[in-house]
């Protein structure tokens, strides 16, 4: 089963490598990885999707959390949250039926066309992993030239009250 870990880490030289190295050294899989700074520029958030049963993922979570510069690790899979990925998809679709078919899929999936040329279009799609994957599968018969997918990002669906709670302080992006 997929689990999304949200890792808050001090934004310093070498920390990403330390965390990624921990996964490979202990034989855990990384399915996707996204890193960027938070509201607090001294803190980075790593959103990492891994797979395994609950018990295994909890072991991973504790291994990551004990790292000196790691502030907090949350397994988002246990919380109400919104998760998104993005894909840029270059579809071979000349003007005519193929392009109409592609555009209707763009419409249904609430994706966007971000580039168009004589023989194709580039689509920007966002959604959770399964939505983006479904769009790709439907575009495949039309003809996909190239796909670039991001890793997942996830944010908790928290109330103001929850944000003031210590245990989910992480969600404020390192404190205000």
């Amino acid at each position: 089963m997929k689990h999304t870990l949200s890792i808050m880490v001090e934004n310093r030289f070498g920390e990403l490598s330390r965390i990624v190295g921990l996964f490979s050294a202990r034989g855990y899989n990384i399915e996707s990885l996204t890193v960027a700074e938070t509201l607090n520029p001294t803190v980075s958030r790593i959103t990492l999707v891994t797979s395994g049963d609950d018990q295994t993922v909890e072991k991973i979570r504790k291994q990551v959390e004990k790292q000196v510069r790691v502030l907090n690790v949350l397994n988002m899979t246990g919380f109400k949250h919104i998760q998104r990925e993005m894909a840029l998809i270059n579809v071979k679709a000349e003007a005519g039926a193929a392009r109409q078919e592609a555009l209707s899929l763009v419409n249904i999936f609430r994706a966007k066309v971000v580039d168009v040329s004589n023989d194709g279009i580039i689509i920007e799609a966002t959604g959770d992993w399964s939505k983006v994957s479904a769009l790709i599968e439907l575009l495949r018969p039309i003809g996909i030239r190239e796909i670039v997918r991001t890793g997942a990002v996830a944010i908790g669906r928290l109330s103001e009250e929850q944000y003031s709670d210590d245990s989910i302080q992480y969600a404020a992006g390192g404190g205000q």
Binding site: M8, V9, E10, F13, G14, S17, R18, G21, L22, A25, N40, P41, T42, V43, Q55, E58, K59, K62, Q63, E65, K66, Q67, V68, R69, V70, L71, N72, D166, S167, I168, Q169, Y170, G174, G175, Q176
Partner: protein, 587 residues
Amino acid sequence: MSVAVKENLRSLKRRARAPQAATELMRGARILCESLVCEGVDTVFGYPGGAVLHIYDELTNFKDRITHVLCRHEQGAVHMAEGYAKATGKVGVALVTSGPGATNAVTGIANAFMDSTPLVVITGQVPRHMIGSDAFQEADIVGITRPCTKYNYLVRNVNDLAGIIKEAFHIAASGRPGPVLIDIPKDVTAEMAAFDYSDDVFLPGYEPGTKGDIDQVELAVEKILKARRPILYVGGGIIHSNAFDEVLEFAERLSLPVTPTLMGLGCFPSGHKLSLGMLGMHGTYWANMAISESDLIIAIGVRFDDRVTGALNKFAVHAEVIHVDIDSSSIDKNRRVQVPITGDAKSVVNQMLDLLPADACAASDDRLAEWWKQIEEWKEYSPLTYKNSDQVIKPQYLVEELRRLTNGDAIIATDVGQHQMWLAQYYGFSGPRQSLTSGGLGTMGFGFPAALGAQMAFPDRQVIAFVGDGGFQMTAQELATAVQYQANVKIIVMNNNFLGMVRQWQEIFYSGNYSHVNMQWVPDFVKLAEAYGVLGLRATRPDQLESVLRRGLSAVGVVLMEILVDEEENVYPMVPAGAGLKEMVLG
């Protein structure tokens, strides 16, 4: 997340490098030395080289405050720092140059990481502008050691140096201890800056635990007071947290049978009536039976290592587990735990002691009478024993004689293998910080330099390197270091002309197909000792053993005693790899 972390997160944002009061400027090399003095470092084990020239230049100005021990190999330097740290409880310090100096140190660093030994290892690095250019003696030691350090640093600004050193010592010594590496480019050690050691260490995400969660502690005590077949399984964590007295009181008030791990030897007095001896692959029959049949395991400062548990699916199948450890990632890692308690062993044992009712002692005696009777039966059924000989020195007899002649009070360092197991079984350490051994990584060549490091810390104590003929040859060059610093260390080379433990496995599991375990040629160890200018003695027959040991142990200065032992003696009992603890081969 705790309130402390929340606060820390906020100040992390506010924090800006405060302009420092203008003071005397000094080069990075001196800042390093001043910082070491501030940390109370009195001994540094090291080896010079190009990238650390400024540091070595500066060290001569500190010779009244810092003793530098010139080793003969960087691996030896780190093992010495480990021996020093294990024997004293202080942070050990090693200093080596870039490239090969740093990579030679890696075995020692990995060893310290596995055995939770507090170290600060300082490596030189090529100047900053040359990093990444495949410069002479350049190695990415921060990258190389990332998986085997608790933390590591590349110093990129001389103004950060003092703060990094302070942080490094704090990280190495607190929580679950471990090695921290600081890689310092050569030009940083030449650059000038003001020295300020007053900043507090600021690590917002690092919370070395202290007390245990009180609800869990209460639940633990409740279970302990009801258990009918409990066992106290204790390890290196007791030694790190200096909880010897507390664990002794706890066990005595509850009449608990106690079994230490290899790393825990000496954390509970081995001659005590409650001690069952070591458990695990070469543990005693009765310790292994007791933990296998227990209904409650009280595990403190241990990590359910594979050498302890054997096959996990057959390990203590009826037992509930209370696991106290300062490292929460050790809990529930190998064995499911019913009562997890993250905390420092000493604090948690004190918390449990406070909750014990006044009559716990008498009640436990009654409740556990049957359990103790069973344990005594196991002990009678298969005591720890061997068949002595008047023709050849049995290694177990050697250890028993060593115990008799040192009263079990010596500090003894070992490598890994048969000699290590026989020492663990028969020496009977009476107190903590006496057994210095390579447990997790299982490093040959650890024992002699580790003993040397311990001897530097305690010049007046009896310190012995108890090693095999194979392991000794891996770091034997440190004999020169021992002589140069007039250490009083005694070396016992237990020579069976084999890489004994590998030979034992080949005998038992590979139908006696001895593949490359007979060294066939070893130096004359007595002459080797003499070549270094130290006393060399040899015992080849049982009737020579006592006089050689007596003479060697009491002589002043370094002594090497070569003891020729039965070549094909095996260590028993033995749990074959992959088997359950109850499937011991008794020999």
